[in-house]
């Protein structure tokens, strides 16, 4: 288990973290629109996170923080 936080100021809703999460627990929040006009990503199941860091490796906007 790890805590994955997406800073929605940086997130541009590109979906790469969603595509690369092996646990399939990253999703775009279609009901939220950021100040820049994007649907931000968020983690829907922190319990299942294995802290593999795939999402953080692939996030071009360095929007993701991962904590134990």
């Amino acid at each position: 288990m790890a805590k994955v936080t997406v800073d929605i100021e940086y997130c541009k809703g590109c979906g790469l973290c969603v595509d690369f999460c092996p646990q399939e627990i990253m999703q775009l929040e279609t009901e939220v629109i950021t100040q820049k006009g994007y649907h931000p990503a968020h983690c829907v199941d922190q319990e299942s996170c294995t802290a593999c860091l795939n999402c953080a490796m692939m996030c071009p906007d360095v929007a993701i923080m991962i904590e134990r």
Partner: protein, 265 residues
Amino acid sequence: MATKTAATATQRNKAEKNPILFERTPALTTAITNYCPGCLHGITQRLVAENLEKLGITGTTVGVSPVGCSVIAYEFYACDMVQAAHGRAPAVATGLKRAHPENTVFTYQGDGDLASIGMAETIHAATRGENITVIFINNAIYGMTGGQMAPTSLPGQVTQTSPYGRDVKTAGYPIRVCELLSSLDGVAFLQRVTVDTPSNVRKAAKAIRKGFEYQRDGLGFSLIEVVSTCPTNWGMTPYAALEWLRENMLPYYPLGVYKDCKAGE
């Protein structure tokens, strides 16, 4: 047995003290980039910044930003930055490094910047063996100006200025920068990497680190080519662009080390 317990305790302490597994490196400013959603520029930019921090050289590094989508990289890197005229980054970096040999100097350039208008500067800085590190983003297109054909655009690739696909009979063949530079004696290190998967991102980070280490050791010119995407001008989603990169770019631009002056040591 005693040492083993001690080590485990230290590890535990370390874990408790630093529960953060990943966060933004302080070598990046807090600015939001101008890059399009899913553009791989952001990943490579992060890797450069993380390496500066890991090597403890953020405060003593001067970067040179190009003309292209990364023109305002001076807003994104927390180290000192200079913005060069189109293609002239290696010339500017030459001056900086010769005047301040104790500082780390790198350029960050796209393929239009480095391989088209700036090809002379690239080749001559390389053959002079300037002790600088060049980060070269090859996305097979001019991103910033709206998707014109670049020297690296693939045969048959449709761009704004090759609407029927790049015709090699009139536009010539794509330039493979690592292969081209590999014959020059001034060159210390050349590697082509990509950042299309988490494991390739980690390999790219190591290559960039090596470039900075070779500069630190005074070995001469190093260039790391990062095969990259331009989802906007390729007209694809960020993920589809990664697949296009793998299917089309990697066969033409094979990954690997093209020169290593320390190889065999």
